[in-house]
């Protein structure tokens, strides 16, 4: 994948750099244009740090009018533009191109309005996800989607990737919590979709833009709905002596009409690794461990927890612990959220996959992963958002050993293909970006992809906005796709992930 083909570099654009800088300095303050090699270095990668490419220049607009003028200028002069939020994306969606203007939205970092009457917050796109909850929590509200990187990831980036989080079974992903956006199209058109109303009339451009990975428009403002914080939250830790029991337990919980706020499963390898790392008090002898969380009113939560207890016992649970305090609840989660660094201790490198599968296929998929793990002689640890079927296998390897890297890439691709085969998807929440681009043909046929490319061409006929992402170039399907972290030296290694 290191040889991933990117759009052809236009030498004429590179040789024209000085003129481009001078032209753009008529649109935005000169201080907001970075063109020296030292200044642009920090922008050469996002959190898919195995891929690096310095852009031609970096621009930091401050107003929507500036964004519009820059895009219009680039469109007229056929200059590629790559938008960037906080740069925490795991699929390489913000990877620059050598001949691109990197549109860094970092100065759009203010909350514009807290509107409690209409239960919404209007924010600029580079406000962090968690900052929205922080801004409204004193009045007892919160913003529901909570990707694990929420302390650093931007709300605009969440919209671009349609980010989820551990609570998306009950509360949905970004697309279900978004009321409106202001965007700028590649030709400089400023448009507003939605607002503070529900289900804006006409074509659902809000829905189309959400998860479009920066290919259709640049987001300049976001309106999200906020929810009243639940009265009470309780979490249970359940151990199982087989993966099948854990899988059956999940299916029965759902079948009995319980919709937990969050439901996570880790396999033995990851349970042990995270427990060693964070002393979370996990049952390390269990083959699979489930974290299950309910929120709501006290009666409701109690009743559901009791139901789950019974279902777990029926499915041969080997241990069961229920949080007695907020501190204990957070401790239960601490291990799960430290899955990335915990794996960093076990091996020099690991690669995190992001497939979606039907909940009921968990045992089958894990068995296949075990088989593949043996076949490739590489250890794999698994984390699973059991509530919504999002599986994150972590493949451990040593990147200094070229053969090990090659094998890891092959194994990763085989796992994702298997996810698609059992009725799942290539990516649940990390996005396609460059990482899974070549696997798109596993999920879609040529007509499906052509329809999507026609939409792209309708809004960006010259394919200048974030080109080379999501859709395969020449539609050549290679066998690649994963997040690669070397020796913990990823960008923001401390941010909790997935």
């Amino acid at each position: 994948m290191t040889n991933l083909q990117m759009p052809k570099v236009e030498k004429s654009i590179i040789s024209n750099k000085d003129k481009i800088v001078s032209d753009i300095s008529k649109i935005i303050k000169e201080d907001n244009i970075l063109s020296h090699v030292d200044e642009i270095k920090p922008y050469e990668t996002d959190a898919l740090a195995a891929y690096k490419q310095a852009p031609l220049i970096v621009v930091l607009p401050e107003t929507v009018e500036e964004v519009s003028a820059i895009l219009k200028y680039c469109n007229e002069n056929k200059i590629k533009v790559v938008p960037r939020g906080a740069g925490t994306g795991l699929s390489g969606g913000a990877l620059p191109l050598a001949d691109c203007v990197l549109l860094a939205m970092g100065k759009f970092n203010k909350i514009i309005e807290l509107d409690f009457n209409n239960k919404c917050v209007v924010a600029q796109p580079c406000v962090t996800n968690l900052a929205i909850t922080h801004a409204v929590q004193d009045k007892g509200f919160y913003y529901a989607p909570d990707p694990s990187s929420q302390i650093a990831c931007s709300i605009g980036g969440n919209v671009a990737e349609n980010s989820g989080g551990v609570h998306s079974l009950k509360y949905g992903a970004t697309t279900n919590n978004l009321l409106g956006i202001e965007v700028v199209l590649m030709d400089g058109t400023i448009a507003r979709f939605g607002g503070k109303t529900m289900d804006a009339e006409g074509y659902d451009f809000l829905g189309l833009m959400t998860g479009s990975e920066g290919l259709l428009a640049v987001i300049t403002e976001v309106t999200v709905k906020i929810l009243k914080s639940p009265e009470i939250v309780k979490t249970a830790l359940v151990g199982f002596s087989t993966i099948d029991d854990a899988g059956n337990c999940v299916a029965q919980i759902i079948a009995q009409g319980c919709i937990p706020a969050g439901m996570e499963i880790m396999d033995k390898a990851l349970t042990k690794a995270t427990n060693d790392y964070s002393k979370a008090g996990y049952p390390t002898d269990a083959e699979a461990m489930m974290i299950i969380e309910f929120d709501g009113t006290e009666h409701e939560v109690e009743e559901y927890i009791n139901k789950v207890k019974k279902i777990a016992e029926k499915n041969n649970s080997s241990s069961l612990k229920i949080s007695k305090s907020k501190e204990e609840r957070l401790k239960f989660w601490a291990g799960r959220k430290a899955a990335f660094p915990a794996c960093g201790v076990l091996a020099p490198d690991y690669m995190c996959m992001d497939g979606s599968i039907p909940r009921g296929k968990l045992a089958e998929v894990l068995k296949e992963i075990t088989r593949l793990s043996k076949k490739y002689d590489l250890p794999v640890a698994n984390a699973f958002h059991a509530g919504d079927g999002n599986l994150h296998p972590l493949i451990m390897f040593d990147a200094n050993d070229k053969e090990s890297l090659r094998k890891t890439e092959e194994l990763g691709a085989e796992i994702l293909k298997y996810c698609v085969k059992v009725g799942g998807a290539l990516t649940g929440e990390h996005g396609v970006g460059i990482e899974k681009r070549e696997l798109m043909c596993e999920a879609f046929n040529n007509t499906d992809i052509q329809q999507q490319l026609t939409i792209k061409a309708a809004l960006d006929p010259n394919s200048l906005l974030n080109p080379g992402k999501v859709y395969p170039i020449l539609r050549k399907c290679a066998e690649e796709g994963r997040v690669h972290v070397h020796g913990g030296k990823t960008k923001f290694p401390d941010i909790p992930r997935f």
């Binding site: 239960k119 998860g211 009113t297 979606s356 039907p358 999920a443």
Partner: protein, 419 residues
């Protein structure tokens, strides 16, 4: 090539017919391919439950999906059902009932309004029109529940997007752009839709509300409460005869708030809500599950407008604007009720003129809302804008329409002139 043409010939119904009733997606694809080739506009229909919503337009032929029906796959434990687009809501609901599940977004039933009897239409129509019922503010609308689809675009090509899993960010989310597109982009053939458990119990708190401002305040507080309601409406006094329940002793204007969930929890939350709203004992009643279900069924079917002869408009505004909007509407001799906890106002107008409609639309748009004409006198229909759109959005709409349906053969002009 020869084989392909021969096959076309065989599966095709008589192309000279004016109404196609295909039984397979291959047939749907072939019909559209043929119409694309010959530039023949098609009206997409099924059980005609929402046929009258939208602009009148000329279509030489009709593509009716009422024979393209059936449940393809239903996995209660995976919380989804995959169906052919022509499947009636009735059939889907009766299947879901067996497993105590439901389509949580409660699609609006326009049957009473247009034909005097219930008709929820087909799942394809429900998704294509995207009108959610009272639970909207809590669970979202059809667009939030579609997990994936297969359909045929305006060139006759079979396309798909999404799947059956909840979390899926592979490529553009085309389910969203098709929801609410009134069949103008793609003919849906298969839909995978999320289902959820039916709450075992529900109760409705009904509060005597002589003052609109106070009623809206009840709704605002309820929607901001951790009691987590799933319905919030206000009915003025003139609709009182529609709600003759044994337990509904209040005969004036009412605010109604629904709480759903486990039995004990519903009990607790409704008590808590009553305290939060500071409602006196003699000012409220509580409807138990059975009567509560009927109440919300009536709301979802727009029963108060069942005898309506003429005009009905649907106004969606940020809830903070509802009070002003209703005050401004008073001069037009309207009857209205408020749904979605203050976000949605259904308005009946006995007399309507183009100017009236223009004026109302102007103040609704000014309040950051939108207005959809649901029912209007036939002689006026051709002259009014049924939907609201601004020039920038029109331009983008035009481009997206072209990317799915380049020759404008699918429901041309149903939403906007020229689209």
């Amino acid at each position: 090539m020869f084989m392909e043409e021969k096959q076309n010939f065989q599966t095709f119904q008589d192309f000279n017919t004016t109404i196609f009733k295909p039984k397979s997606k291959e047939e749907i694809s072939q019909i559209i391919k043929e119409c694309y080739k010959k530039n023949i506009p098609l009206e997409i229909s099924c059980y005609k439950s929402k046929k009258n919503i939208g602009r009148n337009f000329q279509a030489e032929k009709t593509l009716n999906l009422s024979e393209y029906t059936g449940i393809i796959e239903y996995k209660p434990e995976e919380l989804y059902i995959k169906v052919k687009a022509g499947t009636s809501l009735k059939e889907i609901k009766s299947e879901l009932d067996k497993h105590n599940q439901q389509l949580a977004f409660e699609p609006v039933d326009f049957g009473l309004l247009f034909n005097g009897k219930n008709n929820e239409g087909s799942i394809g129509g429900v998704v294509a029109c995207n009108f959610a019922g009272p639970r909207r503010f809590k669970v979202g609308s059809a667009r939030d529940h579609v997990l994936g689809f297969q359909g045929v675009n305006g060139k006759g090509e079979v396309i798909k997007s999404g799947g059956t899993v909840v979390k899926n960010v592979t490529g553009y989310d085309l389910s969203k752009i098709l929801s609410g597109s009134f069949g103008t982009l793609t003919v849906l053939t298969e839909i995978s839709i999320k289902v959820l458990p039916k709450p075992p119990s529900n109760k409705t708190l009904i509060i005597n509300s002589p003052h609109l401002k106070k009623a809206l305040e009840f709704l605002r507080l309820a929607l901001s409460s951790s009691s987590d309601p799933s319905g919030g409406v206000f009915y003025p006094e003139y609709f009182k005869n529609h709600f003759t329940f044994n337990d509904l002793t209040i005969k004036g204007p009412i605010t109604a708030i629904r709480i759903e969930g486990l039995n004990q929890s519903v009990e607790y939350r409704i008590t808590k809500l009553r305290e939060e709203l500071k409602v006196d004992n003699n000012e409220h009643v509580i409807l138990e599950t059975e009567q509560s279900n009927i109440f919300w069924e009536k709301t979802k079917c727009l029963q108060v407008f069942s005898e309506l002869k003429n005009n009905l408009i649907r106004i969606v505004v940020p809830p903070s604007e509802s009070f002003d909007i209703i005050n401004k509407l008073k001069i037009y001799n309207v009857k209205y009720f408020i749904d979605w906890g203050g976000n949605l106002i259904w308005v009946q107008l006995d007399n309507i003129s183009l100017k009236t409609l223009r004026d109302i639309k102007e103040f609704v748009v000014k309040a950051s809302g939108y207005l959809t004409v649901i029912k209007i006198e036939e002689n006026l229909k051709a002259s009014v804008d049924i939907f609201t759109i601004d020039p920038i959005k029109y331009k983008i709409t035009e481009k997206i329409k072209k990317s799915f349906d380049p020759k404008r053969i699918l429901n041309p002009g149903k939403m906007y002139s020229g689209i």
